[in-house]
Assembly symmetry: C2
Homo-oligomer: 344 residues x 2
């Protein structure tokens, strides 16, 4: 875990070291380029849990055989607006970025491209793929299901993963509107951080092994869905939306059925993870010019709206772009284990 | 507002009276049939705020000229997977149900149908349209933006509407998986109910006119987004997703720019409300049989999962279907004003 005390390293240096490690581990040039792009995105916008710290994990899984070093992606067209990408059990980033490209090609003609991904693996931050579509001018949605870690509403077991929903939209003369949210209130990393600091958690974000809400990070065994104790049925249902699109529509693995990402003995069996990407061409709806004017006006109205004392109103992505600017200038903070692994 | 003391009336009687009032108000047969279907859906599943109580409001707007009594819908094809429906300023339910049908036609061929709706009006419960797609075998998403009522994270003004996100999916031999959620924690009606009962609100669901969180229903001036005081940036961003799809992509009215639904002087100017419907054919992804087995297995696993003491785990929609069974047996509760208006 990174914190304010973590040493910082220049983006280019970090990138080069990640590249070297993944190459040594045998990942093909194309698949490692995708993984690096996604990890550096996460590390720049401040999502360290999905950033370069995963390099060691991916290298281990490439060595163990869970991940195919030289995946050959297959794109199966299913209709004028739909396709499936077969990830060939390689690094999930590779299949997911390809799905965005396929979605864009479909959307240019059909107005929309819906692309399921199967036989994939961990894809890092889902926002990286929503962003990839938005950077090319398309409204993009990306989601995945993940290992069970979050209770259902009133549940007493880990059921859904932290199942992210990521949306991005192009903004004229500015960086995209970008939402990349877990459907739990906090990530597991936050619990681990509070545990190491012996610091209480906020209310309604974690539960004991019996599903009882707790603020004690040492007692916390699972996360609670967004909405907390009172409205967690909404967060749980949104986690279900991620599973619906990523696993049920693609015929891949359900959250509770995954071979554990970490900590299990099996690092040789592929996990058949699914994801889903939806790409929409604004040109086929209001038209690109009207859309651009509308989102500009919307963001101006949002950023200019009245703020409560001591607060600050931001659009989704604003915090991430600020953090990116800071990290491009001051470097990417890297945790001690990853510093050692990357030889920084 | 309905409560446990509200008198109940048989569905058929209520439906007949709603039909009579809308016919008297001049709504065309097709447009009132759609409105009735959506209102009865909401009244049966327990979403009374969007149920038959709106009959009087719609009749007033049909009389005032805001709503076109005899709308001629236009469907503009935009690509193999995309279309726009022009609602001709009629009852929004009519345009929204048509959009679902258009989406299904597109999805059967293209695998996905993305349909924007413009020049529409209030559509009632967004879940009605997600459900309409699921009942025909399609995974369906429906959303709309609405009048400003919810603060931004750290905001001190009403910005987004309660902007619902509705998803539904077909389940073999059972009623659909159905999520219809506001992106605020509670609806405005809940505040009004607590105000009339002089009863404190839960924490983190409402704010004063200065954006300060309050549990005092008399001080509450706006709603807070899902996620409450700590994680409301997620709910605010999800409200933005509804606006992105419904208003920005369709070129229709932004939440703060709507002529007020209620309480304003102007009941003659159409509001140019937008919505968005997305329909996906499971047959073009995992295939219908694999999808059916997967969602069956997922729901079995969910409903059989461990429950915390005194709790109950449900899938999205389970509560609604139970309420529907109860109301079909015991009748639909109707508030006093609506009892008078419908002559019950």
């Amino acid at each position: 875990m990174t914190d304010e005390l973590s040493p910082r390293f220049a983006e280019d240096l970090v990138r080069a070291r990640v590249e070297a490690r993944l190459a040594e581990a045998g990942a093909s040039e194309a698949s490692r380029a995708a993984a690096i792009k996604a990890m550096i995105h996460a590390s720049l916008v401040g999502v360290d849990s999905h950033g370069v710290r995963l390099t060691g994990h991916y290298c281990k899984m490439l060595g163990g055989g869970r991940l195919n070093k030289n995946p050959q992606l297959k794109v199966e067209s299913r209709g004028a607006g739909s396709a499936m990408v077969h990830g060939d059990d390689g690094l999930g980033h590779y299949a997911a970025y390809r799905a965005v490209e396929v979605g864009i090609e479909l959307a240019r003609q059909a107005g929309v491209g819906a692309v399921g991904i199967k036989h994939s693996s961990h894809l890092g931050a889902a926002g990286a793929y929503a962003l990839a579509g938005a950077e090319q001018g398309f409204v993009t949605f990306a989601t995945t299901n993940t290992d069970s870690m979050v209770a259902l509403y009133d549940g007493a077991q880990k059921f859904h993963g932290t199942n992210p929903l990521a949306f991005a939209a192009p903004v004229p003369n500015a960086r995209p509107w970008l939402l990349d949210m877990a459907t739990s209130s906090i990530p597991l990393n936050r619990v681990l951080l509070h545990r190491s600091l012996d610091k209480a958690l906020p209310e309604g974000v974690a539960a004991t092994a019996d599903g009882e809400p707790t603020t004690d990070p040492h007692e916390a065994d699972m996360l609670l869905p967004l909405g907390g104790v009172d409205y967690g049925y909404k967060g749980a249902a949104l986690a279900g939306v991620a599973t619906l699109f990523s696993a049920l529509l693609t015929g891949t693995t359900l959250d509770p059925d995954f071979i554990p990402m970490y900590g299990g003995d099996d690092i040789s069996t592929p996990r058949n993870m699914g994801h889903f990407v939806l790409v929409i061409d604004p040109d086929k709806f209001a038209g690109r010019a009207v859309f651009a004017a509308a989102i500009g006006s919307y963001l101006e109205s949002l950023r200019g709206s009245r703020v409560r004392d001591g607060g600050r109103v931001m659009a989704p992505g604003d915090r991430e772009w600020e953090e990116m600017d800071r990290r491009k200038a001051e470097g990417i903070p890297v945790d001690p284990d990853t510093v050692r692994f990357l030889g920084l």
